[in-house]
């Protein structure tokens, strides 16, 4: 057996270098997402699409009440600061702001170094991958995630979530997670791999628009854009450029202060790869 010891110290750390090391130079792709909060109506379509695409188990009222739910993509609803909702103490005078929150696929992800068995690690296409069958459920990663977007299979959800014949509707492209395993948004990795296969089959390079995540596909207002940051011509990299948001820093210096792009918790130096565009307010 060649190189049993080959990857003792390499592999896990290659693709998750922090900013101090100047980031990683070896990525093949760098998949990223941008969400325009001004277009997001909070309609839940993306969230439900995620349930359908990624075999997410519904857990029922009791487990939801104990916060053991499994929604990879959740739509949070906030009323505006500071006066929570309006200048008028009597009532709101403008709408809420909705925030679709899913795994931010950080380039310096805090969840990766702490996993004892390297079940979560950074792939060559800059994805924050989660290997279900390697996970032993120490749940350290979830503790270390500032976004609280890692969901743990506290129970064996499959029998209750997919009573026959519902299991016939499971997506065979990715596995159903068992009890005691951590899971999270994967940027629809099965679609990414599928698009790769198709591209290989047709003997061409992956091009912008080949990969469409389930949430992006269904978003009725097209608030979600997904693509490869290394491909300079792709829509997503244009958006990052236009918003003057840079990777590899935890403090954005924009010459144009009016631009809307920002990354949540980037000051923690974890390099989130989801770019949010601020909601616009008439005042």
């Amino acid at each position: 057996m060649p190189s049993l010891l080959g990857n003792v110290f390499k592999g896990w750390s290659d693709y998750s270098k922090g900013i101090e090391q100047g980031g990683n130079q070896k990525y093949e792709h760098m998949f990223s997402m941008s969400i325009d909060l001004d277009k997001c109506t909070g309609c839940n379509a993306c969230s439900t699409a995620c349930y359908a695409e990624n075999n997410l188990a519904w857990v029922g009222e009791y487990k939801f009440a104990s916060r053991q739910s499994m929604h990879w993509m959740r739509i949070e609803r906030y009323f505006d600061e500071p006066d929570v909702g309006s200048s008028d103490p009597e009532s709101l005078d403008r709408g809420a702001s909705f925030l679709p929150m899913m795994c931010q696929q950080c380039n310096a992800a805090p969840c990766e170094p702490v996993c004892p068995v390297a079940a979560t690690y950074h792939t060559v296409d800059a994805l924050n991958a989660q290997v279900y069958n390697r996970c032993i459920g120490s749940r350290y990663c979830a503790n270390n995630c500032p976004f609280r977007v890692r969901y743990f299979n506290f129970y064996d959800n499959a029998p209750t979530a997919w009573p026959a014949p519902m299991d016939q509707g499971l997506n065979p492209d990715l596995s159903v997670r068992s009890k005691g395993v951590m899971e999270k948004c994967t940027f629809c990795i099965q679609r990414i791999r599928g698009a790769n296969e198709t591209a290989k089959r047709e003997g061409r390079e992956l091009k912008d628009g080949d990969i469409v995540t389930a949430c992006q596909q269904t978003c009725p207002t097209s608030a979600i854009v997904f693509g490869d940051l290394l491909d300079k011509t792709s829509e997503i990299s244009k958006i990052w450029k236009r918003q003057q948001v840079k990777l590899g820093t935890y403090k954005q210096e924009k010459e144009n202060k009016d631009l809307r792009g920002y990354r949540i918790f980037e000051e923690l130096n974890i390099e989130p790869k989801v770019l949010y565009l601020e909601r616009v307010r008439e005042v």
Partner: protein
């Protein structure tokens, strides 16, 4: 003996009465290992029951899933990890007494270090349970250990959990070694004074100890070596445990002072536990002559000092957070003090930092009953401390959506209680199978005290107790 001690009896001033006959030491200790009384069996059964509850809880959790612990998406860790840290902390007492005090030649440790050392080992065995039972897929726990397989995959050496695994295993090994080596001369004594299966056991364990000079020379050297080796290990183990938190980025965990803070807390809880067991053993085994008031007095003073160190580090942490710029951390701190967990937080502060001041009074220090309860409360405080490290952070964190309060379910409490049962079980078996007071070192101690009191020791000994001098004694019964 200074003047202010004049009005006190020997029993109260002297660490140990130098006139104890050595054979008496042997007999007392050996008797403590024989024919257990009713109380012993009751204690044994109780611990067994507690442990049984733990087993049941584990099976229940295994079949129904981790969710039964009421952990949730924000609180992925709770009492399991707290108890883990708590038991690791307990384990530091033995090392402190046996190794550190051994090196600084504080010979008052001699009558009490043996059970402290045993406590170290057993609390490590207990602590080791928790990282395993808290796993979602417990049947894969061995994946954290690096082992060769044709899959060629390895654990993630950057993860503090891996460091834990290494630290704890090596600490366990060396402390078992330390306990065993230190016991060899006593085992020889037991071998010479027992029959039946015990004799077989001790014969095997005492490795043919004859107590001649050469063996003693090697013994002393080895013992010293392991002691030196053990101290940095003890410090490092709890530093590494603290890194489970310090290496995370969560507010309230990401604290630079955690390693010393944890070590101090560990020694603290360890000393408290020693006092508890001290009182119990002294009471049950009639060890008044060996576990004397002055020794307890010294242990209490030690405890007080450590308590103050711990308090100091605590305050350092608070002030660092308070004057720092990290808003979430500050929020967590405020939530600790005012939030739903505040009662436990203040309980920890009271038991950990206020209660120790009672140790300043000699009357308290020398009152067995009071000391027993005080020591228990100190450890309660320490347990709360661990809980207050783990849970409030998770109930706040960075993202408001994750803010929530979580109370552990019965499964977790059963596991925690059960862990005490398991510890008690081990310890109870130990005291009946192995000498929980080091006979040969007590003899040394007595001998040295005689030296300080009388001019010509050997004659005096002939005079007083009619037993031959130390060397002869050594030849006879394998003691010092």
């Amino acid at each position: 003996m200074s003047e202010n001690h004049q009005h006190l009896t020997n029993e109260q001033v002297k660490d140990i009465d130098e006139n104890i006959a050595w054979a008496k030491i042997n007999n007392d200790v050996l008797n403590s290992m024989k024919n257990p009384r009713k109380g012993y069996w009751v204690a044994l059964v109780l611990s067994a029951l507690l442990f049984g509850v733990m087993i049941y809880a584990e099976v229940y959790q295994y079949r129904n899933g981790m969710g039964e612990t009421l952990l949730n998406t924000s609180h992925m860790w709770d009492l399991y990890i707290s108890s883990f840290v708590f038991w690791i902390g307990m384990s530091h007492s033995g090392t402190l007494l046996s190794a550190i005090l051994h090196l600084v030649h504080a010979d008052w440790r001699k009558p009490i270090y043996r059970f402290a050392e045993a406590m170290t080992t057993f609390s490590l065995l207990t602590a080791g349970l928790f990282p395993v039972i808290h796993l979602g897929r417990v049947w894969n726990f061995y994946w954290v250990m690096p082992y060769m397989s044709d899959r060629g995959i390895w654990p993630n050496f950057r993860s503090p959990l891996i460091w834990d695994a290494f630290a704890i295993t090596s600490y366990l090994t060396s402390s078992v070694l330390f306990l065993y080596i230190g016991m060899i001369p006593d085992l020889a004594i037991c071998r010479d004074n027992t029959t039946g299966w015990r004799k077989t056991l001790y014969t095997f364990l005492s490795l043919g100890w004859r107590g001649d000079d050469r063996q003693w020379r090697h013994f002393r050297f080895t013992y010293l070596m392991i002691a030196c080796f053990l101290i940095p290990l003890a410090v490092s183990v709890h530093s590494i445990v603290s890194m489970d938190f310090a290496m995370a980025i969560m507010p309230g965990w990401h604290v630079t002072t955690f390693p010393p803070y944890f070590v101090a807390g560990a020694l603290y809880s360890g000393c408290a536990a020693i006092i508890t067991l001290f009182v119990l053993l002294r009471y049950f085994f009639k060890f008044e002559e060996y576990m004397t008031m002055p020794i307890l007095d010294k242990v209490c003073k030690l405890t007080f000092v450590i308590a103050m160190v711990w308090t100091y580090l605590n305050l350092i942490e608070f002030s660092a957070v308070w004057y720092g710029h990290d808003i979430p951390s500050k929020e967590v701190l405020i939530a600790k003090a005012t939030g739903p967990y505040s009662i436990f937080f203040w309980g920890m502060m009271f038991f950990g930092s206020v209660l120790p001041f009672s140790l300043l009074s000699k009357a308290v220090r020398r009152n067995m009953k009071i000391m027993f309860f005080i020591s228990i409360f100190l450890n309660v405080g320490m347990f709360l401390e661990r809980w207050m490290i783990v849970t409030p952070t998770l109930s706040m964190g960075y993202h408001p959506q994750g803010f929530n309060v979580m109370w552990p379910g019965w499964v977790e409490w059963a596991m925690v209680g059960g862990s005490f049962g398991w510890f008690g079980l081990l310890f109870l078996v130990f005291v009946k199978v192995f000498p929980c007071v080091s006979m040969y070192e007590v003899k040394e101690m007595v001998y040295h005290r005689k030296r300080t009191t009388y001019a010509d020791v050997d004659e005096m000994m002939e005079l007083h107790s009619g037993v031959p001098g130390p060397e002869a004694q050594t030849q006879q019964s394998g003691g010092a």
